[in-house]
Structure formats: structure tokens, C-alpha cells
């Protein structure tokens, strides 16, 4: 009851015209940066920070929250329509979403993403308002051994992304795992794979160490390279003058009754997977999208449609990434723990206003915390109003002649990646990876497993080594900790039970 009255006070703060205006600016800006490849919410909030010092803290945070939620909505648009995700959390959306767009159901895919994001964002915000403290205590139970087990479980989901050929899919996965090894090893401080053949200072051919590789290859560069640049090169290689292939727009631009029926359960499941993992300090926003996609693929009544544009494969992961985005705010508000780049910058923003997030903030500045939470509800509604009618407008992007459209994508991809570090070296990597992405498409290698490997590989490795360091080399730690052991058991069951059942069936016959 107390929470409800505080939330009501929060709405009084958030519903003032001026704060509504800031929320509207935030969600619009967020949607825009979500659409642009490479430019993420963290960078945007960091650059806006000095400008917002003139604002009231409440107004500034309402705007930041709008940017944060908006970017999660916007990221799905280019994933679905152009197969070029702007954020790593929306790569899974590109898998089925883009296939839907090619079937002419692009608007329905956008709609299920927007409504799913709204449902997940709202439910997760309700969870944030009412159960944040207890969720945080549960999330803290996760130590390195538990995270490693969770990553193992997430790795299994790759099996759903492999495509027709397991060899090709695994090759793509290992390419990602290999890329993930490049750079300074966090646990020892030693550089790995940063010395490559090249032209040395005296002009001869030899080994050169590249200091630019010390921080590793950014996930976002690989995502933009493999998807945006790779896709552009592929489209260009297939393009013939005069033969325009325009994706047909079939049927209603709205979701059909059937599409609604197939979407609502994935929305709810995606929320249930996304929120708790987002609340975990090392859960991240990508892992829940992988798990949700895998779950939907296993539970669907239309398995034949997966790999050809199944709506469940868009609805689930989109709900999961928005629920995870709300989940990230749980440790930030409840404990002052920043667990994503955007959260870290929001924490810095809190501190520059002289505020310290954490349990004390709920007592010292309830207007701010509850105003922020209330603005999340409002932001979600605004985003739905902004994105749903826009779905019909966005799909018209596909009517732009391909040479202009893809030239535009290349310009934005290049600008986005350059804006990360102002580094020409990064642009070189982007283009090399883009050419690799083109080759993978040309020879039917799926690109999604590469990104999964690049994201999960380093996480799994670091957590494994932390666990081993803390246990002083005792590997049984993964089996003696109940949570870790259960997660590993689930992973083993998911992997082994279906083939075992098939085997039993065959033997019984």
C-alpha cells in the first residue's frame, strides 16, 4: 500500500507538463539513436550530461530513462526491416524479423516488437516498483560459478541458430569465440592476439603489434560489420540494373488475429526471462534474448516456420530485451550498482547532482526515485503511441530504391562506428568484418552464431576463471553450489533429453 501511494506521488511528479515534455524528448531521441547503427544510449546520455546540468535532476533523469527505453524500441526497427541491428540486444530480432519482412509481414513484425516491448516494459516496470529489493537479494546470490553455469545454458541456444548445416553454424560460432579472445586478458593483464602480420615500421613484412587491439574488438563493430556492411555488400553483389526486387507488402499492415494469438505468450515468457536476468549484475541484455528465442523455438506449434519468419521469434526476444532493460534499473536504484554502460553513466549523473543511488536514495529523494519510475510507465505508453503508427511509415523505407537505401545504411554504419572512438583503425576492422560477413552470406554461413560466440565467450571465460581463482583451483565448485549445479543440469537435459527420446522411440519401434 505504501508503495502504491508513493507511486501515485511519483505520477504527480512525472505528469507535470514540463516533465512530460522531457519524457517525450527522451523517447523520441532514444528511438532515433536506437535506429542508427553503432550509436547507443550510453554514448548519447554521456554527451547530453553536461547540457542537462541546468535542468532539475528529476527532469534530467526522466529524459535519460526515455532515451534508454526508446533505444530498446528503436533498435528493432532496422533489425527487422533491413537486417541491420543497431544494438547487440536486437540481433536475434533480425533472425526471424527480417525473414518476416521479406515475406511482406514487416509491419506485423514491427507491431509485435512494439507491443511486446510495451507489455514487457510495463510488466517489468511494475516488478521494478514492487519487488525490486527481493529481486536484488536473489540476483546477488549469483557468483562466478553460477554465472558460468548460466552462460553454459545460454550457449546451448546456439543450437537453435545454427541453420541447415551444423558444420557451418559451428564454424560461425568459433569465429566469434576466436574474435572474443583478442585483446588484454582481464584476469592476467596479458595481451592476446594483438600481434598480427603486417607492414613493420621499417617497411618490411613482419609481425606488428597493434595497440588498438588491446581493448579487444567491440561487439557493436562486429554486429554492424557482419550485419549492416555484410548485408549491403551482399545486396550490391546481387543487384542488377533495372531489376528491382521490392519486398512485397502483403495483407493488412496490422497484426492479424492469428498473429496476436501467437504473440501474447512469447511476450509474457520473454518478460519472465528478461527481467530477472537483466537484474543480475552480470546478466546483460543479450543473454535473455538468446534464451527467449531458444524457448520459443522449442515451444512453438509452428516449428516449420522457424528459419522462415516466425512471429514468436520476434515477439519473445523483443519482450526479453525490454524487460532486461528495466531489470538493469533494479540493482541501480536498489543498490547503486551500475551493471550496464548506460547504467554506469546514469550513476555518474546521479553523483554529479550530489545524489547517491542505493537504499538511502529511496529515503532521501523519494520524489526523484518514484518520479523516475512513474516516468518509465509514461515513457512506455509514449513509445507505443510513437512506434505503432510509425510501423506503417517505417516499412515504406523498403520502397526506397535499393542503391540509395543501402548507400544510406553504409554512411550511417560508418559514422556510428567512427563516433565510438574516433578511430580509423575501427573503421578498418568494420570493413574487414563486413567483407567476412559478405562471404558468410554468399556461402550460406549463419552470422548470428558469430555474435553469440563473441558475446558469450569472454563472459563464460572470465566467470569460469574467477570461479576457479576463488575456489583456488577446485573445479567441483560448479557442482557443489546448488544454483550452478541446477543450471548445468538443465543445460544437460535440454541438450540430451530430446535426442535420447528420439532414440528410445526408434528402438521401441
Amino acid at each position: 500500500m505504501e508503495t502504491l501511494s508513493q507511486l501515485a506521488t511519483g505520477f504527480l511528479v512525472a505528469l507535470t507538463p514540463i516533465n512530460l515534455l522531457w519524457a517525450a524528448i527522451g523517447v523520441t531521441l532514444g528511438t532515433a539513436i536506437g535506429v542508427l547503427p553503432g550509436i547507443g544510449p550510453a554514448l548519447t546520455v554521456a554527451l547530453l550530461l553536461p547540457l542537462t546540468f541546468q535542468l532539475e535532476p528529476v527532469a534530467a533523469f526522466i529524459m535519460f530513462a526515455g532515451i534508454y527505453y526508446g533505444a530498446m524500441y528503436g533498435g528493432s526497427t532496422t533489425s527487422i526491416l533491413l537486417n541491420t541491428p543497431g544494438e547487440s540486444a536486437t540481433i536475434i530480432t533480425a533472425v526471424e524479423g527480417n525473414l518476416m519482412a521479406r515475406k511482406g509481414r514487416g509491419a506485423a513484425a514491427l507491431a509485435t516488437a512494439a507491443i511486446g516491448s510495451f507489455v514487457a516494459g510495463t510488466l517489468a516496470t511494475i516488478a521494478l516498483s514492487f519487488v525490486a529489493p527481493s529481486v536484488v537479494e536473489l540476483a546477488l546470490l549469483f557468483g562466478p560459478a553460477e554465472y558460468f553455469a548460466l552462460m553454459v545454458l545460454a550457449f546451448i541456444t546456439v543450437s537453435a541458430l545454427l541453420g541447415a548445416s551444423a558444420v557451418r553454424g559451428l564454424a560461425a560460432l568459433f569465429l566469434g569465440l576466436g574474435l572474443g579472445l583478442i585483446g588484454i586478458d582481464l584476469q592476467t593483464g596479458q595481451a592476446r592476439f594483438t600481434t598480427l602480420p603486417g607492414i613493420t615500421a621499417d617497411g618490411t613484412f613482419g609481425l606488428v603489434s597493434y595497440p588498438q587491439l588491446l581493448d579487444g574488438i567491440g561487439v557493436i563493430i562486429v554486429v554492424v560489420g557482419l550485419f549492416a556492411v555484410g548485408e549491403t555488400l551482399f545486396v550490391a553483389s546481387r543487384y542488377r540494373w533495372g531489376e528491382q526486387t521490392i519486398n512485397p507488402l502483403k495483407g493488412s499492415i496490422w497484426m492479424t488475429r492469428e498473429e496476436w494469438r501467437r504473440s501474447w505468450k512469447p511476450w509474457l515468457r520473454g518478460t519472465a526471462i528478461g527481467f530477472p536476468i537483466g537484474a543480475m549484475p552480470a546478466g546483460g541484455s543479450e543473454v535473455p534474448t538468446f534464451l527467449s528465442y531458444f524457448a520459443e523455438r522449442r515451444l512453438t506449434k509452428h516449428p516449420e516456420e522457424f528459419g522462415k519468419g516466425a512471429i514468436e521469434g520476434v515477439a519473445g526476444p523483443e519482450a526479453a530485451n525490454n524487460a532486461a532493460a528495466a531489470g538493469v534499473l533494479v540493482p541501480l536504484l536498489a543498490l547503486g550498482l551500475p551493471t550496464s554502460a548506460t547504467a554506469a553513466i546514469m550513476l555518474a549523473a546521479f553523483q554529479s547532482y550530489g545524489l547517491q543511488p542505493g537504499p538511502l536514495l529511496f529515503e532521501t529523494r523519494p520524489d526523484l526515485v518514484w518520479g523516475l519510475i512513474a516516468s518509465l510507465y509514461i515513457g512506455n505508453v509514449m513509445l507505443l503511441i510513437l512506434n505503432l503508427p510509425m510501423a506503417g511509415v517505417w516499412v515504406r523505407l523498403l520502397l526506397i530504391p535499393q542503391p540509395y537505401l543501402y548507400a544510406g545504411i553504409l554512411v550511417f554504419a560508418t559514422l556510428g562506428v567512427y563516433s565510438l572512438n574516433q578511430s580509423l583503425f575501427d573503421l578498418g576492422i568494420l570493413w574487414v568484418i563486413g567483407i567476412v560477413g559478405y562471404g558468410m552470406r554468399r556461402f550460406d554461413f549463419p552470422v548470428a552464431p558469430t555474435v553469440v560466440g563473441l558475446i558469450l565467450g569472454p563472459l563464460a571465460e572470465q566467470q569460469f576463471r574467477r570461479a576457479m581463482s576463488i575456489s583456488q583451483g577446485d573445479a567441483t565448485v560448479f557442482l557443489t553450489q546448488p544454483i550452478a549445479a541446477s543450471l548445468l543440469a538443465i543445460a544437460a537435459a535440454v541438450l540430451l533429453v530430446p535426442p535420447a527420446l528420439r532414440l528410445i522411440k526408434r528402438l521401441g519401434r
Binding site: A42, L43, V45, A46, L47, L49, P50, F53, A139, L140, L141, F142, G143, P144, I184, D185, L186, Q187, T188, G189, A191, P211, Q212, L214, D215, P281, A282, P331, L335, G336, L337, P338, T339, A341, A343, A344, I345, A348, Q351, S352, G354, Q356, P357, G358, P359, L360, L420, N421, Q422, S423, Q462, R466, S469, I470, Q472
Partner: protein, 324 residues
């Protein structure tokens, strides 16, 4: 992009004018600065630069400061570019700190801080050792005893390997008479992860700057065993290591350096500018607001400090096996 370059050139030109404008030498300052932040927006160096920008503009000392972010490899990529591209430019400055010094050593970078023109150490935060509230260690003495007995059994969380937190643990082991080669340091990316490991009671201790842990200490979720500062600090509820018999000070400092190859007069103008800035009430205000310690140390004293600190870091990184 084009506009940026044009503006930068204009600013560079106007700074040159300001320097030769014939003001009396003692009061000569620069009116515009080109600041390179060798890290992505949002971090400590970026905040330092953006805060300087505000204070210098608000006080009218230097109305224009152009900030460029170029992150990577603990700031060493920015450092290399700064040394190569800004040589002799009177208006060029770069933010730096202990983190860059450690990265230079562990990455075996061919460039180092002595190649710049040191201007001033500005702010800093003292390193602190904490344990989870439920820990068996109640004092620094308990912790050090366990560290002496078996360093491997005391896993300590902090930032990246070879960074300030790791160096602090190595120094602590050394001063306390434990074996620094055997310490069990568990590296984490970003402060949030290390804090989560502590709050979940997954590690024995944690090391970072006071600001990272202050909220958790205030909420009673973490216990501050020792702050590695010369004396107790106002507003910080933690005993010093010194008063518990461990003579160790580790400030995680931040400062600014200027380009190599500038004249003495140009260097003096930058020193005057920074000196005027730290004396403004606005600067004192942001120090308090951001909880930054005032570690102002300028000119030749700062250059000497860099040399001494470099020697201390090299020694400890050798003893923890990260530099050979």
C-alpha cells in the same frame, strides 16, 4: 566534421595570439584549450575535463575548451596520438592519471608520461579496502594476518589486472610482509561487477576508490577496513591503514599534461591558467560535489612526482609478476 576541424584551427590560432599578446608574464594565461580525453565519454578523465571546461568558462579564465575523446588501452592510445600530433602546440592538453601510468607499464607501450610536459596533478581519491558486512575480518590486522598465512585463500575483487586496485593489493601484501607473488586477485570489468561480488559474499575483500564503495559502507552492506590515505579525511568514515600500523598511501590521482616541445613561456601560461582555475570558488565547489580530494601539485613538483610514482609502480608490478 569539417566544421569541427575549422573550429579547432581557429581556436588553435586564437590561443597562439593570447600567448603572444604581451601581458605581464606572471599573469599570462591561455584563453582557449584543446583537451584530449584518452577515454570514452563518461569516465573519470572525461568528467575531469568536462568539469574543467565548465569552471574555466564560468570563471571567464578560458572561455573555450574543445574536448576530444579518444579512448583505448588504458589511455595509451590517446597518449601516443597526443605525443605524435600535438607536439609544440601551446593550447593542447590531455587528462591523465595513475591508471594510464599502470597501463603504460603493463602494455609495454613505447611512449610514456615523461615525454609530455607535466602541468598539474589536480584531484584524487584514496584507495580503500573493504569486506562484505558478514566477513570474518573485522580489522585490517585480521585481514593482513590471513594474507600473511595464505594469500591464495583471500580472494580480493577489483578492476582490471595490473590496474590501480591490483597494484594496491600488491603494495599492501608487500608492506604487510605477505608474499605479493601469491596474492589472489580477481579482476572485474567495471565497478558494479566487483561490488556485486562483494555484496553477494563471493570474495573475501575488495579494493577500489572510496567513491565506489561509500554508499554501500553507509548502508552497512560493506565494511571499510582501511583507507590508504595520509590521515583521516572529513566525511569519510574509514580508519587509515597508517593508524593500524600499515604504512601505505595510494592516491588514485588525476591530472593534466601539455604537449611536448612547447616553450617555457607557453608552459608557464598553462600553469597560470590551471593555477587560476583551482583557486576559483567554482572549482572548490565541484570538488566537494563530486567527492574529489584536492591533490593540487603543479609544475616541477608534479614532474618529480610522476618519476617517483613511476618507480614505485614498476617495482610493485614486477613483484606481482605483470611486468618483467
Amino acid at each position: 566534421m569539417t566544421m569541427n576541424i575549422t573550429r579547432r584551427h581557429l581556436l588553435a590560432g586564437s590561443a597562439g595570439l593570447a600567448v603572444v599578446a604581451g601581458l605581464p608574464a606572471a599573469a599570462q594565461t591561455v584563453t582557449s584549450i584543446n583537451m584530449l580525453v584518452p577515454a570514452a565519454p563518461g569516465g573519470g578523465w572525461d568528467q575531469t575535463a568536462r568539469t574543467m571546461q565548465q569552471v574555466l568558462a564560468a570563471s571567464g579564465i578560458a572561455p573555450t575548451m574543445q574536448i576530444t575523446n579518444q579512448g583505448g588501452a588504458g589511455g595509451t592510445i590517446g597518449l601516443a596520438n597526443f605525443l605524435n600530433n600535438q607536439r609544440g602546440r601551446a593550447d593542447a592538453m590531455m587528462t591523465t592519471g595513475l591508471v594510464m601510468m599502470g597501463a603504460i607499464l603493463t602494455n609495454k607501450t613505447p611512449v610514456n608520461l615523461s615525454m609530455t610536459t607535466p602541468i598539474a596533478r589536480l584531484t584524487g581519491e584514496y584507495q580503500v579496502l573493504v569486506t562484505p558486512a558478514r566477513s570474518r575480518f573485522n580489522t585490517l590486522a585480521d585481514f593482513v594476518a590471513a594474507l600473511r598465512a595464505n594469500p591464495g585463500a583471500v580472494p580480493v575483487a577489483g578492476g582490471s589486472a595490473g590496474g590501480t586496485d591490483h597494484i594496491t593489493l600488491g603494495l599492501l601484501a608487500k608492506v604487510a610482509g605477505a608474499d605479493p607473488t601469491k596474492i589472489n586477485y580477481v579482476a572485474h570489468a567495471g565497478g558494479g561487477e566487483a561490488q556485486a561480488a562483494l555484496l553477494g559474499n563471493h570474495v573475501a575483500g575488495g579494493i577500489s576508490g572510496w567513491g565506489e564503495f561509500s554508499a554501500q559502507v553507509a548502508a552497512g552492506r560493506l565494511r571499510a577496513l582501511a583507507i590508504f590515505a595520509p590521515q583521516r579525511l572529513p566525511g569519510i568514515d574509514a580508519p587509515t591503514a597508517k593508524e593500524q600500523g600499515i604504512d601505505l598511501e595510494v592516491p588514485n590521482w588525476r591530472g593534466v599534461v601539455a604537449a611536448p616541445g612547447i616553450t617555457d613561456a607557453q608552459r608557464q601560461a598553462l600553469l597560470n591558467t590551471i593555477d587560476a582555475m583551482v583557486k576559483t570558488p567554482q572549482w572548490q565547489e565541484v570538488l566537494t560535489k563530486n567527492n574529489w580530494g584536492n591533490l593540487y601539485l603543479a609544475g616541477a613538483d608534479f614532474a618529480r612526482y610522476i618519476e617517483e610514482e613511476n618507480r614505485r609502480m614498476t617495482e610493485v608490478l614486477k613483484s606481482i609478476g605483470l611486468v618483467n
